[in-house]
C-alpha cells in the first residue's frame, strides 16, 4: 500500500501478478505452483546419495527416490530453481541484496536465527504432513477449490493467530 515504492509493489498489484502467474501455470501445465515438494526432493536426493538402501527401505522416501528414480527429476524442482533466480533478480534490480537478519526492534539477532531454524523445522514437518505448503496447498489448492486446501489454509492462519501473542517479542 504505502510501501517503499522502489522495493515493493502494491499488495493488490502483486496479488494480481501472482494470480496471473498461477493461471499461466494452470493453462500451460494443468497444475499449480509449489515449493516444499522440491525441498523434500532435495532431502531425499542427499539421503539417496549417502545411503540408497535406506531410501529404498522407507516407503515415503522410496516414492521420491526409490529404484532408478532421481528425486530431482521433477517439474517442481525446476520451478523452485526458477524461484531462486527470480528472487535474486528482483533483489538485484531493487538494489537490496545485503546480508542481514530480519527481526523485530527488540529481538536479539542470534535468538532470531535460532527461532528461524526452529520455525523452519516445524513448518517443514507440517508441510509434509499436509502434503504441501502455502504455495502448493493454500495458493494452488485455493484457486482450484480443493476442499483439503481450504481446510489447510484456515487451520494454518488460525494456529498462527493463536500462537502469535506468545512470540510477539520476536516481531513487535
Amino acid at each position: 500500500m504505502k510501501d517503499d515504492k522502489q522495493a515493493y509493489w502494491s499488495p493488490y498489484f502483486a496479488g494480481f501478478m501472482l494470480g496471473l502467474v498461477l493461471l499461466a501455470t494452470f493453462f500451460l501445465m494443468g497444475r499449480g505452483l509449489g515449493a516444499s515438494g522440491a525441498m523434500m526432493r532435495t532431502v531425499v536426493f542427499i539421503e539417496d546419495a549417502l545411503s540408497p538402501g535406506h531410501v529404498e527401505a522407507n516407503p515415503y522416501l522410496a516414492h521420491y527416490g526409490g529404484g532408478d528414480k532421481n528425486p530431482l527429476d521433477n517439474w517442481l524442482v525446476f520451478e523452485v530453481l526458477g524461484v531462486i533466480v527470480g528472487g535474486l533478480l528482483s533483489g538485484i534490480l531493487a538494489g537490496k541484496i545485503k546480508l542481514n537478519i530480519d527481526r523485530g526492534p527488540h529481538m536479539a539477532p542470534k535468538l532470531r536465527l535460532l527461532l528461524a531454524f526452529i520455525g523452519g523445522g516445524i513448518m517443514g514437518f507440517g508441510a509434509r504432513l499436509a502434503r504441501g505448503c502455502t504455495s502448493g496447498q493454500a495458493l494452488t489448492g485455493g484457486a482450484t477449490l480443493a476442499l483439503g486446501s481450504w481446510i489447510f489454509m484456515f487451520s494454518m492462519f488460525a494456529a498462527g493467530y493463536a500462537i502469535a501473542y506468545f512470540v510477539r517479542k520476536q516481531w513487535i
Binding site: L28, V85, L129
Partner: protein, 218 residues
C-alpha cells in the same frame, strides 16, 4: 478446448521443465516484489499490523480462480484436466495447524524463505536449513505415523463437490469473502499498523505519507 497445453501434448517433459524454470522466475520475482523476502513483514500479518500476505494471497486466488472459470467457459481450458490436490482431512488440518505455529515462529513459509535467502537474509537461510531438517525428520518417522498421514482420505474433492454447488457460485462467495477481508485488512492496518522502519530491511518512505501521520495521532 486446447489447454492445459501439456495435457494436450503440445510439448513434452523437457520443454515442461524449461517452462517450470521460467514460471519459477516469475513466481520468485513476484514474491520478492510483494515484500515477502522480509520475515517481519510476513509475521506482522499475525498482529494485524501488515496485512500484505492476506491481500496478495486472496487477490491471487481470486484472479486464478476466475481465470480458470472464464477460460473454461470460453472453451479454451478444460478445467476437469487441472490437478486437484487430493483431500486428506486430518493430516491437512493438523499439518495446517503445525505450519501456522511454524510460520509465526520462523517468519517465513518454505517458498518465501528461499526468496529471502537470495536477497541475503540470514534468517531466511536458517529457515531453509530448518525446513530441510524438519522434512528429513518427517521422512524418517513416516513409517511410524503412516496411519495418521493417510487418515481421512477423500480423494480429489472440491468445495463445489462437497457443498453440491456450482463452481461459479462458490467463486462468487469467495470473491465476496475476499472483498470483505480486504476491507477488514485496510481497517486493521489503519488501526494497528505501524510505519517505523523495519530493522535491516529496506527503509520505508512511508513515514511521509498521510496515512502514517494518521497513525501517529492514533
Amino acid at each position: 478446448m486446447f489447454a492445459p497445453l501439456y495435457k494436450y501434448d503440445y510439448f513434452g517433459v523437457e520443454v515442461s521443465y524449461i517452462i517450470a524454470f521460467v514460471i519459477g522466475i516469475l513466481f520468485g520475482y513476484t514474491l520478492e516484489r510483494a515484500g515477502f523476502s522480509s520475515s517481519r513483514k510476513l509475521a506482522l500479518q499475525f498482529y494485524l499490523r501488515d496485512m500484505t500476505v492476506l491481500k496478495v494471497m486472496f487477490t491471487a486466488i481470486v484472479v486464478a480462480l476466475l481465470g480458470i472459470l472464464y477460460l473454461n467457459l470460453a472453451d479454451v481450458l478444460d478445467m476437469s484436466l487441472i490437478y486437484i490436490n487430493p483431500t486428506s482431512l486430518w493430516p491437512q488440518m493438523l499439518g495446517g495447524l503445525i505450519m501456522g505455529v511454524g510460520f509465526v515462529i520462523g517468519g517465513y513459509c518454505p517458498g518465501t524463505s528461499l526468496v529471502a535467502s537470495t536477497v541475503g537474509k540470514l534468517d531466511g537461510m536458517m529457515y531453509v536449513l530448518g525446513a530441510l531438517f524438519g522434512m528429513f525428520i518427517y521422512g524418517e518417522i513416516f513409517p511410524a505415523i503412516k496411519s495418521i498421514a493417510e487418515s481421512g482420505y477423500m480423494g480429489d474433492v472440491t468445495l463445489s463437490d462437497w457443498l453440491h454447488l456450482r463452481p461459479g457460485l462458490i467463486a462468487f462467495f469467495i470473491v465476496i469473502m475476499a472483498l470483505a477481508m480486504f476491507v477488514f485488512a485496510e481497517w486493521a492496518e489503519k488501526r494497528f499498523g505501524e510505519k517505523e522502519p523495519v530493522p535491516g530491511d529496506t527503509p520505508s518512505t512511508a513515514a511521509s505519507t498521510p496515512q502514517s501521520m494518521e497513525e501517529k495521532i492514533v
